[in-house]
Amino acid sequence: MKLEQRKDLLGIRDMSREELELILDTAIPMKDIIKRDVKKVPALRGKAMVTVFYENSTRTRTSFEIAGKYLSADTVNLAVATSSVQKGESLRDTIKTIEVMGFDLMVIRHAMTGTAHYVARNTNMRVINAGDGTNEHPTQALLDMYSIREKKGTLEGLKVAIVGDILHSRVARSNIYGLSKFGCEIRVAGPSTLMPPEIEKLGVKSYYSLDQALDGVDVINVLRIQKERQQSGLFPSLDEYANLYMLSPDRLLRAKDDVLVLHPGPMNRGVEISSQVADGVQSVINEQVTNGVAVRMALLFLMMGGSRDEITN
């Protein structure tokens, strides 16, 4: 399917390599705009979008909002914590209310897997999934892929290690779906209690030893330990986790010399990543945030412009 025929962006899983490439290519000129003195183009003038986050966020929500503004769309954030959601309004009624205000696009994050899909089926607005439970976080994967491609020149054939809480990570899943379409060799590493059973069916290799997983890799994507999603007893303590799985300068030596270190943020320094690595020369963690704005601009432009006659889903 072609990107412009999609009503919604719900996950990387069912997207083609060509669609992903179009988004990544379009993000290059978008990044130039962010670096200009006049950070605004009129492309989405007259369009309106709303961000609805049922889970906390600094980067993703702000990034969508400023991406829309740089393209001249009107952007509004529904502050869920102070909204009628707290009076018990159902998700469906909230969506309908927003829709009839004339919004063209909604960005939604929710703790429940499949929420974005449910919303997409129940509205004429375009819907972008900004994270649904442990399922997918497609724009994070896009910005990770952009960051890697920008530094390495290509994604083709790279060895990528994804480290940490694979079980709860929508970032990991979206990255696996995306990177595998570009022929990357993907390794996942973490404690056995945080490794989903049958993860290797996604075409990745799983490791319980971080040192083995990092051997000769081009990219390390360090995941956040999601304290909000931990049931008790998945690992004994944060200290023990850090001992075994924290990315430290020593462990980094196992990877290639020009390895890139990514982290979706927010970081737990001293738990999954040491400060030295987070702030070190291999880290592109801050650049990822800038790239996140660029890929979201690309996505909003590609999805929100145009007439809607040819949309099929």
Partner: protein
Amino acid sequence: MELQEKKVLMDEVAIKRAITRIAHEIIERNKGVEKVALIGIRRRGGPLAVRLAERIEEIEGIKVPVGILDITLYRDDLTTLASQPQVHRTEVFFNINDMNIVLVDDVMYTGRTIRAAMDALIDLGRPRTIQLAVLVDRGHRELPVKADFIGKNVPTSKTEVISVLVKEIDGREEVIIQEIIDQ
């Protein structure tokens, strides 16, 4: 939409002569090229701007800055197109403030491209003047704009298509007129 080639309006030699004349006109109008820069509008304005700069250098011995402008995000028809056109980079790596900027395009038609280009340019800075050079002016203006430097005026009907072909993109150097034979 199928196109039938009707005739060649300009061959390689004619294009070269037109570029040479426009180069002289730019130099004359600006009394030299001290503060002149050329910015081509993607796609075929790019190679034409490079050619104009080469000719100006031959005449004046001065290299003028050359850039490329992508106007996609400034088009006024984005909401009516079925799918979004591909966005490319704008490559203007010099300061345009207080410069005399000559926009370069292949064909001037409705004037909408030029309107978009002027908006795009002004977002990059505040040029002293904006001038416009086109290889072919085919008429049918829909906005109140006109070119300062014109290679060739060609009266056309709206069912005709003017194509400027350049070596860098098309492998040959020609201006051709085509007719739309079915819709």
